[in-house]
């Protein structure tokens, strides 16, 4: 594969396709439980096999295509914007998705991204090396779009798709290098804050790989919808619509993929009930 927009070599009919999840439980959040529930949505809407990358102690309940056990290495924290507390964050090692994925075409999805439609399959039909979600449409009025006040725009590592090819490997190797040398790259790109964030390292790798240019064609050309607030409940009691009930208001959205940032909701019984409702529809 050469060039960023190559469109040749269409021998992809025999290529395998699948989804990769990463889930490492922290002291606060049972990410494996979230993965188990999200996996059911992926199966329902994409009908693709799923590989889970997790630690040696976790006990996933979903019947995954593969479970890859790794020893988690890393020490990171995040400011939870809902509880306003500092929480443990096991987000290192995402760059290993390339080596851990058993598929030719991989959708690397965060477990808090709920797959409720088959739109991403459309992109997998095309020829590509890797693609990353660029924009997010938020339930709140505005979201920061740059890595720092005087930095460049970041990407959303929440949804990444890649095909096994030299350029994708180079991309993920670069993300790994950025993670290992985070202090250097954080300063180079004038990132606000010190916590390692995959959204930033994927954006940096993409900028570097595109000749230090922030405009790229390695993007998913539509916006991801993100709910940033605390979620009380999600309902499916309207045809083709979902009601997301927040603490002080509710929003009615079409039945499409949605990124939920409230981890407490995703580990609650209410989320499990929502998944059951969706699967029953």
């Amino acid at each position: 594969m050469t060039g960023i927009n190559n469109i040749m070599n269409l021998e992809d009919s025999a290529e395998s396709k699948g989804v990769v999840f990463f889930a490492h439980n922290t002291v606060d959040v049972d990410y494996v439980r979230i993965a188990d529930l999200s996996a059911r949505l992926v199966e329902q809407h994409l009908n693709l096999p799923i590989t889970l990358v997790t630690d040696t102690e976790s006990q996933p309940e979903h019947d995954y295509d593969h479970v890859v056990r790794v020893e988690y290495k890393g020490n990171n924290f995040r400011n939870d914007h809902i509880s306003k507390e500092v929480k443990q964050w096991k987000n290192h090692g995402r760059y290993t998705a390339y080596e851990h994925s058993p598929y030719d075409n991989t959708l690397l999805i965060d477990t808090d991204y709920l797959v409720l439609d088959d739109g991403l399959l459309k992109l997998m039909e095309l020829d590509y090396d890797y693609r990353v979600m660029e924009n997010s449409n938020s339930s709140a009025e505005t979201m920061p779009a740059r890595m720092g006040q005087v930095s460049l725009p970041y990407l959303w590592a929440t949804v990444v798709m890649f095909r096994k090819c030299p350029r994708s490997k180079m991309f993920f190797d670069l993300v790994g290098r950025i993670q290992r040398n985070w202090a250097y790259y954080r300063n180079l790109f004038m990132v606000d804050g010190t916590s390692y964030r995959n959204d930033y390292s994927f954006a940096m790798a993409n900028i570097i790989l595109n000749g230090y240019c922030s405009t790229s064609k390695n993007i998913i050309p539509w916006k991801m919808f993100t709910v940033v607030q605390e979620v009380v409940r999600m309902d499916t009691n309207l045809k083709d619509k979902i009601i997301v009930r927040l603490s002080d208001l509710a929003i009615t959205i079409p039945k499409h993929n949605v990124h939920i940032m409230d981890k407490n909701f995703l580990t609650s019984e209410a989320f499990e009930e929502f998944v059951e409702e969706i699967l029953d529809v």
């Binding site: 095309l126 050309p221 916006k223 009601i243 959205i253």
Partner: protein, 104 residues
């Protein structure tokens, strides 16, 4: 509370009409994308008009990823029109439902 009361109470809560409207429009923008000949196209009135008025049956069109895609004009036009109409119909229907929710 009866079931009807519950439903009315829930729908009354769902009144952030401007947010709902904005989110629905973004969804529609996503749905307007169509794959053809290993290319990805966002179907717009301009694209439909351009293809409809072209005077040759075989043509090349630039897709979303800035690749030139070989297109059978008649076939592409039919698919693009179908996609555009289906998505616009869906938008109109969902938009009216949102307006109806607002009035409850």
């Amino acid at each position: 509370m009866t079931e009807i009361d519950n439903i009315v109470a829930e729908i009354k809560q769902a009144t952030d009409y401007q947010a709902n409207r904005r989110i629905l429009r973004e969804h529609i923008q996503t749905e307007l994308h169509m794959t053809y000949g290993n290319g990805l196209f966002k179907i717009t009135p301009e694209l439909i008009a351009f293809v409809a008025t072209w005077n040759c049956d075989e043509m090349y069109i630039e897709d979303t990823y800035e690749n030139p895609i070989k297109v059978d004009r008649t076939e592409f036009l039919e698919l693009a029109q179908q996609r555009y109409q289906a998505v616009m119909n869906d938008w109109h229907q969902q938009y009216n439902e949102l307006r109806r929710l607002r009035r409850v």
